[in-house]
Symmetry: D2
């Protein structure tokens, strides 16, 4: 049996592009982390080291900066699509491009109650992301956009239980009728098209996720995630699928009984590891095929 080159891709990861719009005295800022990954006709680069088809990753970085000026940035989904379209459209050897963009949020520093025109403070630890994939090898050029949010840290101090679960020889967990439910949510959703009001859609998805975490009583993190994900699909027809990954950040009730104290859900130890990890997808039946949309560069190996 012979040994052959399998899947391969290459690109420039984590180019930190900061774009200032200073057309008026009230500046705008977009603060991005951009990664590109290209596929195509790169067999020679691997087998013989011949680089004639290889656009350097340094060039990919340069392009990320140049496009921030030439085309501007706007919503990160548009910026990612534009870059992906450039690589697949303008570089002959490239047949598929994936562009991942993280965006860090800033808000204006408030001075005397007014947002300052050019001074900003980082807002929140959560990160908005977008990935655009363009593949030119199908019957028609196919495009996918997956948007996301991560490091969205959520906690409910009541309204969560975990009871009636399966028990076996190794089960010692007591049932919990009232517990803290906390997670650091990662959610990513795939759009059914590329004709979407990206910023409005992101805001609506984020708010839906927050509300559906907050309001319904939780019988398990699985139920909560499904409720959040299915609500997003119900709210927006242009989303084909959403995937959620939620570590169960355990908060254990501190045992204060040795000191003669009761602890009716008031004092907890926030533990680090291990953690539960609950993951599910909500899918719209009949949605367009996901193609390579969910393939993550970081997970290649």
């Amino acid at each position: 049996m012979s040994i052959v080159l399998g899947d391969n891709q290459y690109g420039k990861a984590e180019t930190r592009v900061v774009r200032i719009y200073r057309d008026t005295e009230r500046h705008q800022i977009r603060d991005l982390n951009v990664s590109t990954a290209l596929r195509g006709d790169f067999t020679a680069a691997h087998l013989s080291g011949e680089q004639g088809h290889v656009l350097p990753t340094d060039t990919q970085k340069n392009t990320a900066f140049a496009y921030a000026k030439e085309r501007g940035i706007g919503a990160i989904e548009d910026y990612a699509l534009t870059l992906a379209g450039h690589f697949t459209g303008d570089v002959e050897s490239v047949t598929r491009a994936r562009v991942d963009v993280d965006e860090y949020r800033w808000e204006r520093i408030s001075v005397d109650g007014t947002g300052h025109p050019h001074a900003f403070v980082r807002s929140g630890q959560e990160i908005r992301s977008a990935a655009a994939v363009i593949d030119t090898q199908g019957p028609v050029q196919a495009q996918w956009v997956v948007s996301g949010i991560r490091d969205l840290v959520l906690l409910k101090s009541t309204g969560s239980q975990f009871t009636g679960f399966l028990r076996d020889r190794y089960t010692t967990l007591p049932e919990a009728v009232d517990r803290i439910l906390a997670t650091s949510l990662t959610a990513r959703w795939r759009y059914a098209s590329t004709d979407v009001p990206w910023d409005e859609a992101f805001a609506q998805v984020r708010q839906t996720l927050l509300e559906r975490f907050a309001v319904p009583h939780s019988r398990a993190l699985q139920q909560t995630l499904w409720g959040m994900g299915s609500a997003v699909l119900a709210a927006r027809d242009d989303i084909a699928e959403i995937r959620l990954s939620a570590p169960n950040k355990h908060h254990f009730l501190a045992d204060l009984s040795p000191y003669g104290l009761d602890n009716p859900g008031e004092v907890f130890h926030a533990d680090d590891r291990p953690y539960g990890l609950i993951q599910c997808a909500a899918v719209r039946e009949g949605a367009p095929d996901a193609g390579p949309a969910w393939e993550l560069p970081a997970a290649f190996a």
Copy 2:
């Protein structure tokens, strides 16, 4: 010359205490990371391993949880003082206690425009801190409180220059008349007493730091830090000293000229390392002595 035991301390680091107040349906949350460090008569523990004077670090952890219930938490400065007072007052072998507390901020999830009674989302990456030190070996029992903020990420997109600096054989830096100024600020300030409205003071210091970063034109990060620090001392008589540490998070203008593009302060590369590190203190003349207030456990070795 003989070899002797020098400075020593021990404690429990990073106890993650979460306190829920659920007296009404509108819960409150305090989310803390608590570290204790004790000094005293522990020579035997080192020289012979004899532990009769050593209160276990496990007990220190238990006490952090128990006090969260018995005494509640309130402002983290009060909680730290109370714990430090317990260790120095109730444990005979302890002559000095230091308690460091970090607090993570949460805000209520907004549902239909109203903050939810028991569902929260982590708010910001910045961390509020407090350290209380009590030393019983002076002529009178001495107490110090140092409050702080860190991971406060700030950026000005204009209003910053760096010119007229010293040049030597190794200087290649061009002068910059308009640059991005960005930092991740750590500030810590020492109070002159322990009779302080902690939460109000923290809010005022934070706002003063933000405004004095935002408003004045910056001729150098040194000038900006001094302006921020001295304004804090001017605003509050109960603060004796403030120390600021500010990495200069360099944003380099992308060179777009090879592609025929100009770049008048619009597209930047946010670099990671190396970074400038600018540090200074503003001190009130005649303030009470700092004693061990600035000794950090993490910096012991």
Copy 3:
């Protein structure tokens, strides 16, 4: 179009199991990070919160500890297979189990030139990993094992070039006929069966990767990776496929000419971001199907 539950799994992540073998005075240590992920009949858990089919993640953690005693650990591939077989074989609702294990290496502290019987020092930052997946829903029970290594930091100070690459409007990179090549390698390889001398195979793969990085002249990281991966498949018939992911950790030649110094490949700046990211697979033609072997829990969303 209706909204349906898609892929889903759950488990306990990062259980830190340390197993000491103390049958003789010369202790042995296995230091593991264990993650389990189960799939099966969990629709009710999501849709109604009904947990009757759900084995708690706490139980999965307990089982990892219990099996470390009952069955011992041995090679991490065997331990992962045993745990996966337990979940699929003994828990009726589970149809697929994935167990990921990282192992941290220790070596004996040398005392007077001899390895100490029970004192150890952590050896290297590289991590050995194994993943076992068992799926009971095919025509026969299918099992996959993927072993790996990561954080293997490699550097060649010469013997690497990058020339003859594609140029476009955004290309400014000069050709490099002699450069530093450095990476932090992640490699994962899938075995064709589960009847493998795991430790011997791991050692041979690691050594092959190191040698094939070191020896051949590199015309590009792509060529080097392919050389490393294909050599692994050539060396061992029991490996079906190997995937490599290699950040190009750029070392830029410091420009010393402003100070009248030349720099013939002697002084470099090790940069952090951005970095090239080169990824490829070497595959044995006709190898058994990969099934879900490459699906990473962390990449679910």
Copy 4:
């Protein structure tokens, strides 16, 4: 009471200098992380933003690279001293310079049993450090060197107990007559002079620390640290003081009794937080004054 400028310093942190010696085909590598911090006459920079006395941090970075070529590196203590001497000696406004250097270890990749001449693999996660401080304002120019090691992860699987400790109302810890003792050691030692065979001294200190951790029975981590530190001073007259900081990385015995299994010190859970933190110094009586040697830049605020 007026507000005045207090302590202040500035510099360039984390310059990643890699030096290749290629005078023969058998290359040598030094891989460093260099930070500089300068003190002196910088009041105007703070109060008015006037930069005439300020050597840019960019220049400090350039100097780190230039000296790696001009002077070479050798032992990191010598490199740090040379750089500190340059800043205090050649820059008029600088009265004190501190240079911190971390060194990452590499070993040659073994090919056919022989170390390769120019291919390396990172060796260990532990980091060797050196800090040189030169102050020109005393009666004579004063110089200090503090060397160190950190991230040295150690574990004993027996030979450690913790009994006979102080108990109070909050104590629940049972006595342990046989436990795992594990830590990630930070040690820093101050030399009495700058005329030291640095590499030889470092190797001897490291080996002494390892042996004194491994061999003596431990009645407490305090006793173990004191034993390690005092042995270092006993071994080398040229060391004035050593400071050790050791997190007690708790390994809790897994409770397997619910499944009918005993666990005589065989299966442990390695916990993350909280952790004990034990710190002590061993000091040679009559040693020269430490001056600013122990002031860490990172701990400034």
